[in-house]
Symmetry: C2
Subunit: 245 residues, 2 copies
């Protein structure tokens, strides 16, 4: 079968996640993770989204950003299996699939216009900044909730990390950042609490890790059950919030 | 943004639904609705599906079959709203969307090979025969079940039709068909029980309706609370089951 299908994005997500590392492995693990989806013309018609506000959650069908075409592999090593055990790519939600299409159920906060552009405000997202979106659909509880569904390597949600501490300098930086990015500390706590490290790094206490949120570099180490955030690089000229936020 | 994305199907669904009318409006409303998905080369590698059997349900990301490109409309009339009230296309799961991509959570019965081809046996499907599939993903209960999700015009599952009767001739035809298509009567009862008519037809008792299942024509009328199946055209030479079944 030689059919090919050509799709154009209906919009783009502008999110707090400047890089892949640190993005929660499923949506809604970080409720403070907010994003704005801009709808592109000619799809930015109010009536095309009429009725969507009645739903608390929606599905985004998106294209994995930054995964070049032709990079699919029959097996991958999902982080939830420790990052060192291989499983079939179709048994995972990895982006390294033949058609790098992702699905994510997120919270719909608001639909509004800003400077003429139609924007969907979202939270609990797990999408990289600039992710192209192919489709938006309502989450239909009666159909999408399958109480009898079982299985797999990710049966339970990950346990949040018990304790996160900040050095004095990191705390000062946070205070500064809150004025530019309200909710920054909540977001950081949720992202670190979800433990973005691959599980096989669990024993490497001394290793330093880093994540970029809103373009801000954050670095931390692990000390027994405690994450210690020691460096937050406040840019002299903090990057503006994504357009439209 | 002028990005375009080109996708090739990884497989095709062969299903009992020979035409759009009669297809349940969401998956799993007709558990007897079975299908076989054939995986195309080069994706038909056992290892690419390794681990998927651990999941009871999977998502199919598919292309709505038979909806020509460029047919999207800002508003549609979903059957659940009676078929005569318009709502935004993005507030529905209608196929008349800018990118005619669908998502369906179905039951995974079995993964096996037949004459060298890799096949996924599915049930509770709502897909037209020959639907091209772009992706297969595990249904992840911990992430995909959102207990707090609310909303929309389809909050409750449709009520199954209370009573279905068969004329003697129809009953005889069913008996014949069961030998070719085991489970045909269950499937027919579930399809008719879900009431494929648009809701605005509810009062039109005399109207005759028809549906094609496995290529077999079935016709019925409504009499108060009873569906009366009066005609089942058993083909002289019943079409073979879809290849690979």
């Amino acid at each position: 079968m030689n059919d090919t299908f050509v799709f154009n994005p209906i919009g783009m997500v502008r999110s707090c996640f400047s890089e892949k590392f640190g993005i929660p492995r499923q949506p809604r693990l970080a409720p403070a993770a907010r994003a704005t989806m801009e709808i592109f013309p000619p799809y930015d018609q109010d009536e095309a989204f009429g009725g969507l506000e009645a739903f608390s959650h929606l599905w985004l069908v998106f294209v994995f950003h930054g995964i070049p075409k032709g990079c699919w592999r029959p097996t991958v090593r999902p982080p939830r299996l420790g990052g060192n055990r291989r499983t079939g790519v179709f048994a995972t939600r990895s982006g390294f699939r033949p058609n790098p299409i992702g699905m994510s159920a997120v919270v719909l906060e608001e639909i509004h216009r800003h400077q003429g552009r139609l924007l969907l405000e979202l939270s609990g997202i797990d999408l990289l900044d600039r992710t192209p979106v192919l489709d938006v659909k309502p989450y239909l509880p009666y159909s999408d909730i399958i109480p009898e569904a079982t299985g797999g390597f990710a049966a339970a949600p990950p346990r949040p990390w018990p304790s996160i501490e900040y050095t004095d300098r990191a705390r000062q930086a946070c205070a500064l950042l809150e004025s530019t990015y309200p909710g920054f500390v909540d977001l950081l706590n949720q992202v670190l609490g979800a433990d973005p490290r691959p599980a096989y790094m669990d024993g490497h206490a001394r290793t330093e890790f880093g994540v970029r949120l809103h373009g801000v570099n954050v670095r931390w180490t692990h000390r027994q059950d405690t994450i210690v955030v020691h460096t937050i690089e406040v840019p002299a000229d903090p990057p503006a919030l994504p357009e439209g936020v």
